[in-house]
């Protein structure tokens, strides 16, 4: 393998993030508790620099370290999104951690470490490197999920996440090893070349594909590999939940698409059939189970499962579309969907994090009763996020769904679009219920402590970013559509 200093420049954003993570971990014991805010600002500054660097790399596709890493527009699209979400997470955590009395400087270190894992995932073109990125992401998230050490549910979330996550990583690794056995390489281009023209008659290839699909299925939290999601989302600190629901899902989709499109593209007829079933199961189960939730974090967990189902429609559409434009439109739709989903989901979780009941999260749906009367602006923002999650125009959620369904219809999957839209209408019921509770119910006078809302400038910035994204891209999605279209992967 040849190595050149230029390669290091290509992964400079990743290096910066890791350096900042180490710096945070080292500085944490040295700083007094009043100075620990500085760690958040250090992380934010790093992320801002990274976003600038990534934006400048957008138009120059290049590979580094002998093809292990590919920094193309596709990778930059996801890295940009991930850094942005990590920035929002830091801002949200800054206030939320103080409220929760979680004075861990390491927290920001773990956010950055996890982020660096995600960035590796989306820019790697080698299965082992992707695996390493996944592990770096997951291990940091396991710790973050259990940060509320005094709360059993947080610990349970962490343990559950760890066990199931380790299990799925094992499956992923097993799939990678089988694929290596079948093709003699872990590099995606080499795999693509080796399996070109082969079919799934080869049992080794079949087993490898299925295991990879299962492994990624866990990371994407799609049915039937979704079991961990509600418990982990509910138990983890809300800021971590927001980060997991948005960033880890986006990174997993980024890596997943890269593997299945660039590596296993010639098997698309086979894997699109698998994902079609997974997609339908995800849409049905996610939306139906979300209907009966009473805890908003659990409801948003099932909603995030359902949204992975909508994104999968784009993957399936790309797989069955006969034409090159059809494939590109399917992949573009997935990328667009995840980017738009980031704004609305992060916004919704931010409002959830802001609502406090005593010293605890106000995360029961009942806690939102009468929010519109007490905090009209927060209720209005939550309304916008809910409407967007339900996919009603003129919000970002509609645009995301529009492109996904468009890809489905173009690929001849009109029936799937009909099915998914019917479930979108069903999903409107549970999003609407939040609006109903906020606007049409009065707070229960019997409950002693009526929930209050924490405010801070940092939270205002997070909410402003989220709502601006939801409204702006809902009204004028062209910039994002063009960006995703420019960054799209092509089947090899």
């Amino acid at each position: 393998m040849t190595f050149s200093p230029g390669d290091l420049f290509l992964i400079l954003p990743e290096l910066l993030v890791i350096t900042a993570a180490c710096l945070v971990l080292v500085l944490d014991p040295v700083l007094s508790s009043s100075q620990k805010d500085g760690l958040a600002w250090l992380s934010l500054g790093t992320l801002a620099i990274c976003m600038g660097l990534i934006a400048s790399q957008m138009n120059h596709a290049a590979s580094a370290f002998g093809g292990i890493v590919i920094i193309d527009a596709y990778a930059c699209f996801w890295r940009l999104l991930l850094c942005f979400v990590a920035g929002l997470t830091v801002l949200l955590s800054h206030t939320y951690l103080r409220e929760e009395r979680l004075y861990f400087g390491e927290y920001y270190g773990f956010v950055l470490l996890s982020l660096s894992g995600m960035m590796v995932m989306v820019s790697a073109a080698d299965l082992l490197t992707i695996y390493l990125g996944t592990e770096l992401m997951s291990l940091s998230l396991y710790v973050m999920a259990g940060l509320k050490r005094s709360e059993p549910r947080s610990l349970e979330a962490s343990a559950k996440y760890f066990v199931l996550g380790a299990f799925s990583s094992g499956i992923l690794l097993y799939g990678i090893s089988l694929l290596y056995g079948a093709t003699g390489s872990t590099r995606l281009p080499a795999i693509a070349a080796a399996i070109a023209g082969r079919s799934l008659d080869d049992p080794l290839l079949l087993a490898a594909t299925v295991l990879l699909a299962v492994g990624f299925g866990f990371k994407l939290a799609v049915v039937p590999f979704h079991m961990w999601t509600p418990d982990v989302y509910q138990g983890a600190p809300t800021s971590v939940t927001a980060f997991m629901a948005v960033a880890s899902k986006a990174a997993s989709f980024g890596a997943f698409l890269r593997v299945f499109v660039e590596g296993l593209g010639s098997l698309k007829a086979n894997w699109s059939a698998i994902f079609l079933l997974v997609c339908i199961a995800t849409l049905v189960l996610g939306n139906i189970v979300a209907l009966v939730q009473t805890n908003i974090k659990r409801m948003l967990a099932y909603s995030s499962i359902a949204h992975a189902g909508y994104a999968l429609i784009g993957v399936v559409a790309a797989g069955v579309a006969g034409t090159q434009t059809g494939e590109a439109n399917g992949i573009t739709a997935v990328m667009l969907y995840l980017a738009l989903y980031a704004f609305m989901t992060f916004g919704a979780f931010t409002i959830v994090a802001m609502l406090r009941k005593g010293g605890l999260d106000g995360d029961e749906i009942e806690d939102f009763s009468g929010l519109a009367a007490r905090h009209p602006l927060a209720a209005l923002l939550m309304l916008v996020f809910m409407v967007s999650l339900a996919g009603i125009p003129p919000t970002a959620g509609f645009i995301g769904k529009f492109y996904v369904f468009m890809a489905a219809v173009e690929a001849g999957l009109t029936w799937l679009a009909v099915l998914a839209l019917v479930f979108a209408a069903i999903s409107a019921y549970y999003y609407l219920r939040i609006i109903m509770v906020m606007y049409m119910r009065e707070p229960d006078p019997l409950t002693a402590a009526s929930p209050r809302l924490i405010m801070s400038p940092a939270l205002s910035i997070v909410l402003a970013c989220a709502v601006a994204g939801v409204v702006f891209f809902g009204l004028y999605p062209s910039p994002l559509v063009n960006l995703a279209g420019h960054a799209v992967l092509t089947f090899k």
Binding site: P376, L383, V387, I392, P393, P394, F398, F402, F405, M406, V409, E410, T414, A417, V418, L421, V422, A424, A425, A428, Y429, L432, I435, M436, Y439, M440, Y476, P477, S478, V481, N482, G485
Partner: protein, 517 residues
């Protein structure tokens, strides 16, 4: 003919900007600002009436801008003779909605007025949009403000009614979205409504697309048997909400049929006509019967709406100039008359806090002005010659006569029943004896309430006596729709009759008559 002045954009943006402005207004001035904005929107829309070139059937006041490049979605607005009256009806009703809510809405008045203004912008957008995606955005964007109007400011059972309204309309319209996408790929990769109205779509596909369109529009109209959300929503909504629902939202269903179903899917429209006409007649008679049985004034008017909107769908699917023009007339007239009736109910509800007929009787003595106006709207609703509704219903029946005499006879029953339920209602509410002493002490309409109702009374007679200005503006546009759905052959008309009448057993002369071509 194109105008460089962006009339339509201003009409849409003005209320939306007003809604934003309300957020920063002083509590005391919220009502005045809302009234000012709706009035300004009305004034802004009036010149369109005279600037409109009645000789042309094409879209006027066009505005086009690229909105999204891939796929090509445009911000494209324009009006023709069908949408022009509907837009004017909307802008005319909105100041009245603000006025009627002046005192009856006493909490969260700011949000209420903002919702009204958002509704106005979206409703005008629906009628003016010439890009299918843009249309869909406006169409769906109305759902949330309407949901809040019913759910926050409505009656005791408001949450149930609001959710029912929302889910019914949403389920209908998601299928519309799929149909829009399928149509895009089938007819030359465009969302342009004008182009799509000229595209040829395979007949087998039209069948499915028609069903999808039907799901969206039939729920909105509402056609039997998709009408069950309407009585709930009407009864629970605040007065202004009921007026908007009845006068504008229901029209969007009829508008959808005439703007999209007929010209884009002509073959399927003709094939489905027997079913549509049957459903329309069922709605006309069933709605009227249900209205007879109601004890709640709002429910009575709600069911009468089902009946009257049956005439709209009946006229549209006769595919002749009388029928379709009559249907559009009926849409405008129903907006005016039913809007007036709901305003009347709102006025009395403010005083007695009851919508029950039994609690509001003998109002002529204490409230002579009110009783007069109520009687005028009721007579208009039953289609008395000289009032507006007569024009529309007569034209629809004349159009239906060409298609089928039996259908005409059955639909006429609806008018007779309308006379029954309306006159009976009038007899009790206006002319009966007061059921409680408190009723004799009610104060009559004040100036604000008179100002709310008088414009509609003027229109009732104006259109009733001199409907020609509306009809002349409609001719060319309706002819364009007709050109797409060429006059049905005797065979299809015959089939329609056979479907309407289950196997004539005793040689019923009505059914056996051959229809005139």
């Amino acid at each position: 003919m194109t105008h460089s002045f962006p009339w339509l954009t201003l009409l849409i943006v003005l209320p939306l900007a007003g809604a934003v402005a309300l957020c920063f207004a002083k509590d005391t001035s919220v009502r005045l600002i809302a009234l000012g904005i709706t009035a300004a929107d009305l004034l802004l829309s009036l010149p369109l009436w005279w600037l409109f070139d009645a000789s042309s059937g094409s879209m006027q006041f066009n505005e086009t801008a690229l909105w999204i490049s891939t796929p090509p979605i445009h911000y494209r607005l324009g009006l023709d003779g069908i949408s022009l009256p509907l837009v004017l009806m909307t802008t005319m009703l909105m100041p009245l909605c603000v006025l009627i809510s002046w005192r009856s809405i006493d909490q969260r008045i700011r949000s209420f007025m903002a919702m009204l203004l958002v509704m106005e912008g979206a409703m005008i957008g629906v009628f003016a949009a010439l890009d299918f995606v843009l249309f869909y955005v406006f169409w769906e964007a109305m759902l949330i403000p309407m949901y809040l109007l019913i759910g926050v400011w409505g009656g005791p059972n408001r949450i149930y009614a609001a959710v029912k309204f929302f889910l019914y309309t949403l389920v209908g319209s998601v299928l519309l979205l799929v149909a829009i996408l399928v149509l895009y790929f089938q007819s030359g990769h465009t969302f342009d409504i004008v182009q799509l109205s000229q595209a040829a779509v395979p007949a087998s596909l039209q069948f499915w697309l028609f069903l999808a369109f039907f799901a969206a529009f039939a729920v909105k109209v509402p056609m039997f048997p998709f009408h069950t959300w309407l009585p709930d929503a009407h009864v629970e909504a605040p007065t202004a909400g009921s007026v908007i629902l009845a006068s504008v939202l229901l029209k969007m269903g009829g508008y959808g049929f005439v703007r999209f179903s007929l010209p884009m899917l002509p073959d399927a429209s003709i094939a489905f006509a027997p079913l549509m006409i049957t459903l329309s007649i069922v709605a006309i008679i069933y709605g009227a019967y249900m209205a007879l049985a109601q004890t709640d004034l709002k429910k009575l008017i709600a069911y009468s709406s089902v009946s009257h909107m049956g005439f709209v769908t009946l006229g549209l699917f006769t595919f002749n100039i009388q029928g379709i023009e009559g249907a559009v007339m009926q849409m405008v007239n129903h907006g005016i008359t039913t809007g007036g009736l709901f305003l009347c109910v709102g006025v009395i509800y403010e005083r007695t806090h009851s919508r029950q007929i039994a609690d509001n009787t003998g109002l002529t003595t204490p409230m002579p002005r009110y009783a007069t106006l109520l009687v005028i709207f009721a007579l208009s609703s039953l289609g008395l010659p000289g009032t507006n509704s007569f024009v529309g219903e007569f034209m629809v029946l004349a159009g239906t006569f060409i298609w089928s005499k039996l259908a005409t006879a059955l639909a006429s029953l609806g008018i007779i029943l309308a006379a029954a339920y309306m006159l009976w209602m009038i007899q009790r509410v206006a002319f009966g004896l007061p059921s409680a002493p408190v009723l004799s002490a009610l104060r009559d309409l004040d100036r604000r309430e008179m100002a709310t109702l008088i414009p509609l009374v003027v229109l009732v007679f104006l259109i009733g006596i001199f409907p020609n200005p509306i009809l002349t503006r409609m001719h060319a546009s309706v002819n364009q729709v007709l050109a797409r759905t060429s006059v049905p052959t005797a065979a299809t008309a015959m089939r329609a009759e056979n479907q309407l009448l289950p196997a004539p057993t005793n040689g019923d002369s009505l059914a056996m008559e051959t229809p005139r071509p």
